[in-house]
Symmetry: C2
Subunit: 258 residues, 2 copies
Amino acid sequence: MQAAAHTTPVQFVPRTAIAARGAAPLATNCSACHLKELCLPCGLPGEDVERLDQLRFARRRVKQGEALYQAGEKFGSIHAVRSGTFKTVLTLRDGRQQVTGFHMAGEMMGMDGLATGRHASAAEALEDCEVCVVPYAHLTQLAASNSSLQHVVGRLMSREIVREHSLMLLLGSMNAEERLAAFLVNISQRLQARGYSATEFHLRMMRSEIGSYLGLKLETVSRTFSLFQSMGLLAVDKKHVRILDMERLSSTIEARVH
Amino acid sequence: MQAAAHTTPVQFVPRTAIAARGAAPLATNCSACHLKELCLPCGLPGEDVERLDQLRFARRRVKQGEALYQAGEKFGSIHAVRSGTFKTVLTLRDGRQQVTGFHMAGEMMGMDGLATGRHASAAEALEDCEVCVVPYAHLTQLAASNSSLQHVVGRLMSREIVREHSLMLLLGSMNAEERLAAFLVNISQRLQARGYSATEFHLRMMRSEIGSYLGLKLETVSRTFSLFQSMGLLAVDKKHVRILDMERLSSTIEARVH
DNA sequence: CGCGAAATTGATATCGATCAATCCCGGTGG
DNA sequence: CCACCGGGATTGATCGATATCAATTTCGCG
């Protein structure tokens, strides 16, 4: 409503306004958000969270299968997941794809675009989602006058680097069982941090997407699920997973001394 | 000289001063540095580079085989390579290692430490090296009053994310030939950007380190070198490499449609 | 000169990829 | 309401790339 979209042609409207095309022209502030412990303001003292409210983030809905942003698209904002799950995907010119991450509520996406001014990867919704649109320029502007916010932004990017580190370790030196175990333990922990069950959940992604993420083929992912089930670690029914023996599942990751 | 080390006990002295323990108490500024086009000030207009000179970076020498920082060590500074080559290494509790990067003159290391306040990886010198020590707190302090420097820091971290992206793609979806070709082309380009020959160079790392980086065993790396040689792409003699057919070498990376 | 570390090369084993068949389930239209 | 359809998942059989094990060579260095 209070957003721009009056007369300006769409292609010149900043991302915040583009978001406003959707059903949610509502702006959001951090201090009232139920995700504030996980999301952007994580670690920020109360008064600084309130300063963050100066940026009233536009929300944007993204339906299942739709892209939040495409690879090559101009970078202007980072995005915080409010609800739903995204995958981020890198594509090689020959069409090969690599899923570089799955992102759930409270997690930030799109920091890769800052390097070149264009997004290196695409973000696609695995279910109907909603995000906060955080214009990067506004964020840095506010950060300039607030050192703790500045640190939060830095930490945010650093966390992404560390996350990718551990994925590299996984891809470079783990076998199929360790990879899937690491994946499941990671999902479990993140769901738990969001107040969901750590042992029983619904996977939002297909076998082929898990495979791409883990550097395995979908058949191998499926077989490894079956193996874990036969070992009594999991009860699996398609996308529904119940962890029966978290202890042993976790230990898989470091057991094999190879 | 103008640095702190008067009376304060070593453990309370910031990293800059610790560096000064070495043989090079010399401080350095960016505007006079021959690496300014590649390094931290890259993309910064001249007057801002001069502002960067307010931070007079301590230098630190690191001998071959020594660690610049260890995994788990407190994070305080990022490091810019002045000369020599480093590798960064992640270690799993069971001892398995993954080389996450090789770093040459003008490249920054250590941004992974910001996330938790401790370095996630270790940095080890592959030859005798020298670095600039950039205290992170000083950097952000200066960045607060200078938006273009703020952007440079952000871009720096983002570039690291993108770099890791492409390594993930390599580890997740390329075969041995493609991996080694990608590695060689990348090294070649970075050497060229530093004014060295793009087609003939001396690798600073061992086969096992290349293997760890590429997610291959050292024997596979060696065999693939031999294969490339027999294909007429390379002339290899241990660590000395001459690229004979850059065209075909580059095309290996995307040829295989698999 | 001899030692040890790195690299190369060969033989074989193994894990995950590939190809293929089948199953399962939700949605759709007759 | 049921049959059909299609996408996703599972499972089996086989193949192939890379790991593993082992022997040898090369080189730098004391």
